[in-house]
């Protein structure tokens, strides 16, 4: 593949997956600058793969996995532990300003889940990945992914029900 073809493939990849990758990495790192650094590394590695004519069977999970690993590496490098993000859509104008209250609540509760569970839910629901792809990205078994997903939703239900019951009680 020549340079021009590589450039074209990279551009196409960014246009189709860039937003998803960005929001996913951002959800881990909570920093725009770090997110861009990570994605820069991801795309450089992708460019090398294209240069070597390596065939990539399923690009989306491949990139998410690479982005996740890079993000974790970046986190360790910065000795920065993941903390619950302030808002899933904090850097999106459309996101934070237009979210209705319930949406804000539920997304807020998602951050209170253990990172393994929230990770699975985010990949599955926000990025429309299959359980199989999520398992590949998180390097766990399919059953583990499914149970993390199930427990995550159960916990969210419990949290929301508790809040509602408390509100009702106060009323």
């Amino acid at each position: 593949m020549n340079k021009e073809q590589i450039a074209q493939r990279l551009e196409e990849t960014w246009l189709s997956l860039g937003d998803g990758l960005y929001s996913y990495v951002y959800s881990i790192l909570k920093s725009s600058a770090d997110t861009e650094d990570v994605l820069q590394n991801v795309f450089i590695r992708l460019a090398r793969s294209f240069e070597n004519d390596r065939s990539i069977s399923n690009l989306r999970p491949y990139l998410y996995k690479m982005a996740r690993n890079e993000a974790i590496r970046q986190m360790e490098k910065l000795k920065k532990l993941p903390v619950p993000s302030e808002d899933l859509d904090s850097s999106s104008i459309e996101g934070s300003q237009l979210l209705i209250e319930e949406e804000r609540d539920i997304s807020q509760q998602l951050k209170s889940l253990p990172s393994e569970q929230s990770d699975v839910i985010i990949l599955k629901l926000f990025h429309n990945l299959t359980f199989k792809e999520v398992a590949k990205i998180t390097e766990t078994t399919l059953k583990t992914v499914a149970s993390r997903y199930r427990y995550g939703l159960q916990k969210l239900k419990g949290i929301i029900t508790g809040i509602k019951t408390k509100e009702k009680y106060h009323d």
């Binding site: 246009l15 820069q40 859509d89 996101g95 839910i121 629901l125 199989k132 149970s147 929301i160």
Partner: protein, 493 residues
């Protein structure tokens, strides 16, 4: 999911915790079950949009990647160009389409104005066109010598109207050379071989003069105010002749174009192609005429069968003359073209035309038979068709000895016998005097009764000759002769 739906979903979670479970298959073996509340939460989360990357993030990231990997250009540079190019292409296409529509509109307006007139009454226009025939008759009768010294503008030669009329004039000279006093011995045969320079010079002179003459013809047509006709008809080509007929009405085209244009223009083109040893193109022109003949015939524009027959016969005769005169040139034609010509000639043969109409109308057939035989025995020759086509034997065998027996037999047995003998004579002559050997292989019972009727009323030498010539099988022949002789003896008693 609308806001209302979202609200309902949350309310359901709180108020109805005992709702049905939803099962989600993870793979063939594993599935997870979610309560309705969990499902509602799932749906709620699904509806949240993940954040978008800042608009310039992609550019920044890819710029760094490009620098790192040695790609020397800005990210998304080509895509911008591509979008720009696509846009400009679309605009360009839009402009072209607009121009085409404008041209079509102008052309339609022009057609309306020139063809029908703004207040055009179709009836009166058709009527005025029909008077063209008389005007063309005037042109036809004009002494062509008067036209030779007309000084035309050579630039006009590229005008399709002029070119067509030039062809017309060429045809006029070639088909009717005696009117051309400038040539001492204007015989057609003299021109055909072009064996020496004088012949070539002579021909060239004729063609040049014809070109000048065509300008004169054009002038006459203009004076006759038949410009519209000349425009339309001279645009006739092999391709559009049929649509032209549809447009102006078959009757009109038949009477005007068919006689004055098709027969002369296309035949003159065929002649010219033959001169240039372009036999294939010449045959194409002939085929066009024949097909047009068939087209007119199938439109049932003839009210009289006799008219139809005459037109068919005249045209076929003209075509056969052209073919015969150029039979030496036929060797340049491909076998496929010769086969095509043979096919359309067979279709156009008046006998085949008769086949469709004349059954049960024997009187009509007997009235027109003579003219047909006249065609096949003109000029002391039995047939005009060159041997390369071996056409006439097929025509005669198929048309006469098969189909036309019955109506004619019923109507006039003696006349039938006369025709039958003429056919045999023609066949023998066309076969270099040899007896035609493709004799009838068997006599159909129904058919034989008619034969029998004829044999018994014929003089002895004739019936024997007839029987011998049409019955190949020896046993059958003897049987037929015996039957006929027995019948004659019975009558004589």
């Amino acid at each position: 999911m609308t806001d209302e739906h979202k609200k309902i979903a949350l309310d359901v979670i709180v108020k109805n915790p005992e709702n049905d479970m939803t099962s989600i298959a993870v793979n063939e073996e594993t599935s997870i079950s979610l309560t309705k509340e969990e499902k509602a939460i799932e749906e709620k989360l699904s509806s949240l949009r993940p954040m978008k990357a800042p608009s310039d993030a992609g550019n920044r990231i890819l710029k760094a990647v490009f620098a790192e990997t040695g790609i020397k250009r800005e990210p998304f540079e080509n895509m911008k160009d591509k979008n720009r190019n696509n846009k400009s292409k679309i605009q360009y296409l839009y402009q072209i389409i607009t121009v085409i529509f404008v041209i079509i509109g102008l052309r339609l307006t022009y057609t309306l104005i020139t063809n029908w007139g703004i207040l055009g009454d179709p009836e009166s226009i058709i009527e005025s066109r029909m008077t063209i025939k008389s005007k063309m008759d005037a042109i036809e009768n004009t002494n062509i010598n008067d036209m030779y010294y007309f000084e035309g503008n050579p630039a006009d030669y590229s005008d399709p109207v002029v070119e067509t009329l030039r062809q017309y004039a060429v045809a006029k000279v070639l088909f009717d050379p005696n009117k051309h006093e400038g040539l001492k011995h204007p015989s057609y045969e003299h021109l055909t071989p072009l064996e020496n320079d004088n012949d070539a010079k002579l021909l060239k002179e004729r063609l040049d003069r014809a070109s000048i003459a065509s300008l004169k013809v054009l002038e006459i047509i203009r004076k006759c105010q038949v410009r519209d006709w000349s425009l339309d008809s001279t645009k006739l080509t092999r391709r559009n002749i049929f649509s032209h007929a549809d447009r102006f009405g078959v009757s009109y085209v038949k009477s005007m174009v068919f006689h004055y244009y098709v027969t002369r223009y296309f035949l003159s083109k065929a002649q010219l192609h033959f001169y240039r040893n372009e036999a294939n193109q010449a045959i194409e022109e002939l085929i066009t005429v024949l097909r047009f003949l068939e087209y007119i015939r199938t439109r049932q524009t003839y009210t009289s069968m006799l008219d139809m027959h005459n037109d068919c016969s005249d045209l076929l005769k003209t075509i056969l003359i052209v073919v015969e005169k150029n039979q030496g040139k036929l060797k340049y034609a491909s076998s496929g073209k010769l086969a095509s010509l043979k096919t359309v000639l067979t279709q156009a043969d008046p006998m085949n035309v008769f086949k469709r109409f004349a059954y049960g109308n024997a009187a009509f057939i007997s009235d027109t038979f003579d003219s047909f035989f006249g065609l096949h025995s003109m000029g002391g020759k039995s047939l005009y068709v060159p041997k390369e086509l071996s056409l006439t034997a097929d025509l005669l065998r198929n048309s006469y000895t098969r189909w036309l027996f019955r109506p004619l037999l019923i109507h006039d047995a003696k006349k039938y016998l006369h025709y039958q003998l003429t056919i045999i004579e023609c066949l023998e002559k066309s076969n270099n005097g040899q007896t035609f050997d493709n004799k009838v292989k068997a006599i159909e019972p129904d058919h034989f009764m008619h034969w029998f009727q004829i044999m018994t009323s014929a003089p002895e030498p004739d019936y024997k000759k007839l029987i011998e010539n049409v019955i190949a099988d020896e046993e059958l022949l003897q049987e037929a002769i015996k039957l006929v002789e027995g019948e004659i003896k019975k009558r004589n008693k």
